[in-house]
């Protein structure tokens, strides 16, 4: 609809957001000594800066891949998938477990190592994509029309559960000894849980409720199971096959895998470049893999029919449904892609640093989310850009401020973006939905 009548368009005086300007100036003032000192350091040793930029680029590429997972999901259902960082963490765990189970390392000739690594990549991506889809199916789908708080809270819950899984996988001693003791511990719980499920069925099936004697019987069964179990154990039923989770893989006590051999290049191998900055084979691996992942995702979303369906769903779910797009499947696809990317990022990190910890998902998640917001959440190119920027910023902060302050720096940036440009660098200004 063209504007037919020629009217002098008087721009409406927008209310300036004075508070944010003042906050900005204050921030600048407070941090001016810091900025100054950083500038001096950089001038003194410009080569160091170059090296640090490389570190930032490498980390940033990984963050960008994780950020894509947030953006894909947010773009479609406007949910911050809190658990995404932890899916990435599980990706790293899966990789390391597989690596040590398959027992490959730098000694393995490339002709075997290459295909095996590709296979691992495929497995890890499938596992993590699957986990993510499962999360969507069981924790979020029912809540799609619920108030915004509900799925967000569920997402936090899932994140915690996954972290705990990571903690256990990480070699925390689970149990050693007799299965029976475990049975005795777990059986009553299962019996009671079963009873609850039954009671629900009863209630759902008709007006009748689970009768009291039913409860009594169940409780008696549960109690006697418990007592019997303890007694069996007590009297030394010696079936003992100790149940421990992969001691040799994970190490005894560390909350994460360790002693996993290098697979890309041994520590002693000569790097690709020494000057002007150090570039190792691993760095190259990260950059190449991330590049491939990012560009294939971009092409997928922009060029394929399924990708178009995704974009349509992101625009307007109801309209997309009317156009014959299977919205549930599309949403699941977004989770699948996001999870697979998270898994791939996990694998890259796993191969890069040969270690994983259960909390790594939380920190990385916060950073990746920040990048997604920085680039404009929901915007794929934006997340890539944001990830790279956050990677660079944290590398610089590591070097020029102090590593222990980096998280604070990243968070500060998050707040600043949200205040000054909530739509992000590449995001369009969509206003606000109440």
């Amino acid at each position: 609809m063209a504007q037919t009548v020629a009217t002098p368009v008087v721009p409406v005086a927008r209310r300036r957001n004075w508070s944010s300007i003042i906050v900005g100036l204050l921030l600048l003032l407070v941090f001016s000594p810091l900025i100054f000192s950083i500038a001096t350091k950089i001038v003194h040793n410009p080569l160091l800066l170059l090296g640090q930029l490389k570190v930032g680029l490498v980390n940033g590429a990984i963050i960008a891949i994780i950020a894509l997972g947030y953006t894909l999901v947010y773009g479609i259902i406007e949910l911050i998938n809190f658990a995404h960082g932890d899916v990435y963490m599980l990706g790293a765990f899966t990789t390391l477990i597989l690596l040590s189970l398959l027992n490959i390392g730098t000694k393995t000739p490339w002709i075997i190592r290459g295909p095996v690594l590709l296979l691992i990549l495929a497995i890890v991506m499938a596992v993590c994509g699957g986990i993510n889809v499962g999360i969507e199916r069981f924790a979020y789908r029912r809540l799609r029309n619920a108030p915004r708080l509900a799925p967000l809270i569920a997402a936090i819950g899932v994140s915690f559960v996954l972290q705990n899984v990571g903690l256990v996988l990480g070699g925390v001693p689970v149990f050693e000894g007799d299965y029976w003791a475990l049975v005795a511990l777990v059986a009553p719980v299962i019996v009671i849980a079963l009873a609850m499920v039954l009671a629900r069925r009863f209630a759902a099936g008709g007006e009748r409720k689970m009768p009291v004697w039913g409860w009594l019987i169940l409780i008696i069964v549960a109690a006697s199971l418990a007592i019997a179990g303890f007694n069996l154990v007590h009297h030394g039923l010696q079936s003992a096959v100790p149940l421990t989770l992969g001691d040799n893989v994970m190490g005894e006590t560390a909350p994460g895998p360790k002693n996993v051999p290098e697979v890309i290049a041994s520590v002693s191998a000569r790097p690709l470049l020494e000057t002007p900055f150090r570039l190792t084979w691993k760095d190259l691996m990260v950059l190449v893999m991330c590049g491939i992942l990012m560009s294939s995702l971009y092409l997928f979303v922009q060029r394929t029919k399924v990708g178009k369906a995704m974009r349509a769903t992101a625009q307007d779910r109801d309209a997309a449904r009317l156009m014959g797009i299977n919205v549930d499947a599309t949403i699941a696809l977004a989770f699948l892609l996001g999870g697979a990317l998270g898994g791939a990022a996990g694998m890259i990190v796993g191969m890069y640093s040969n270690s994983a910890v259960f909390v790594m998902g939380f920190t990385a998640g916060l950073r990746a989310f920040t990048s997604a917001v920085l680039g404009g959440i929901g915007n794929i190119a934006g997340s890539m850009l944001g990830g790279l920027l956050i990677g660079l910023i944290s590398a610089l902060s590591d070097q020029y401020i102090e590593t222990r302050w980096t998280n604070a720096v990243v968070f500060g940036i998050l707040v600043i973006i949200l205040v000054f440009r909530p739509s992000g660098l590449l995001g369009e200004d969509v206003g606000q939905k109440a």
């Binding site: 609809m1 504007q3 009217t7 368009v9 008087v10 409406v12 209310r15």
Partner: protein
């Protein structure tokens, strides 16, 4: 003292490439009931949203009660004396009818944090008065006492519409904006509501601006009718004048119909016929 409670001039609203309201001049004389009509998507609700501060006009000026209200936030506009209802009812679903009306009085109450925590005498008295006034308003719009403590989402549809009006009245407005108040009502309810609107003007002295699709209502009570189409104002004036305006009929029925003076399709035809029938 201006005779117009609202004077809008050259109002334009663009959403990206779409011009939803295009250079509209619009005045509401004090103490009148005016109507804003037009086919679906004409920009009526958008216009409302600009008056109440939900949207900022792309350009144009808007004077309410001798002061510019462009760029004010919704709550500031409300405080100046504009009350409104919504096209799709937006009550506070999980609050009682009474509480809904009490929320409407928010801007008129003065209790602050300290007063509330200490429950000063002034706060208590104010609360008591607010409660009485809320009940009074509920009765005024025809919601009996027994409905007062009902959760608003459990009220029947018609009562929800009334409750929304009571809530808007509770803001103590000088100008009341009603967005399709009779939508979805049966003729009986519609009549009652028409009477209510008159009462609001006559007894409370509040100027009313109405968006309405039901021509019977529009023609029956408005002193002035403004017609929007595709964002532009195409006619304005007394109901009789507007009704016979060629452009209006064309907007409602499409081009050919205007030339023949009749024809066109189902629903809209009925609308205009009912308008002409009065």
């Amino acid at each position: 003292m201006a005779t117009n409670i609202l004077e809008a001039q050259g109002i334009v609203k663009q959403f990206g490439g779409l011009t939803a309201v295009n250079n509209v001049d619009f005045v509401i004389p004090k103490g009148t009931i005016c109507s804003l009509i037009g086919p679906n998507g004409a920009g009526k609700t958008t216009f409302f949203n600009m008056i109440t501060g939900l949207y900022v006009p792309t350009s144009g000026s808007m004077i309410f009660d001798d002061q510019s209200i462009v760029g004010l936030k919704p709550d500031q506009v409300t405080a100046r004396g504009v009350g409104r209802t919504f096209q799709n009812i937006r009550l506070f679903a999980n609050m009682t009818a009474l509480e809904n009306v009490l929320v409407g009085q928010h801007a008129r109450l003065k209790a602050n944090l300290l007063g509330i925590l200490l429950q000063t005498r002034a706060v208590k008295a104010e609360e008591e008065r607010a409660r009485l006034r809320a009940i009074e308003l509920l009765e005024f719009v025809g919601l009996g006492r027994q409905r007062v403590d009902e959760m608003s989402k459990n009220l029947p549809y018609g009562d929800q519409r009334r409750l929304e009006i009571a809530r808007a009245l509770a803001t103590n407005p000088k100008l009341l904006l009603l967005d399709e108040p009779t939508a979805g009502m049966n003729p009986h309810e519609t009549d009652a509501l028409t009477r209510l609107m008159r009462q609001i003007r006559d007894e409370l002295g509040i100027t009313v601006l109405l968006i309405e699709h039901d021509m019977k209502v529009v023609m029956g009570i408005s002193e002035k009718v403004t017609v929007l189409d595709h964002g532009g104002k195409i006619a304005e004036g007394l109901p009789e004048v507007v009704r016979s305006n060629e452009q209006v009929i064309e907007a409602y029925l499409g081009k050919g119909a205007a030339a023949q003076g009749k024809g066109g399709g189902g629903v809209r035809k009925a609308v205009v016929q009912s308008a002409e029938g009065r």
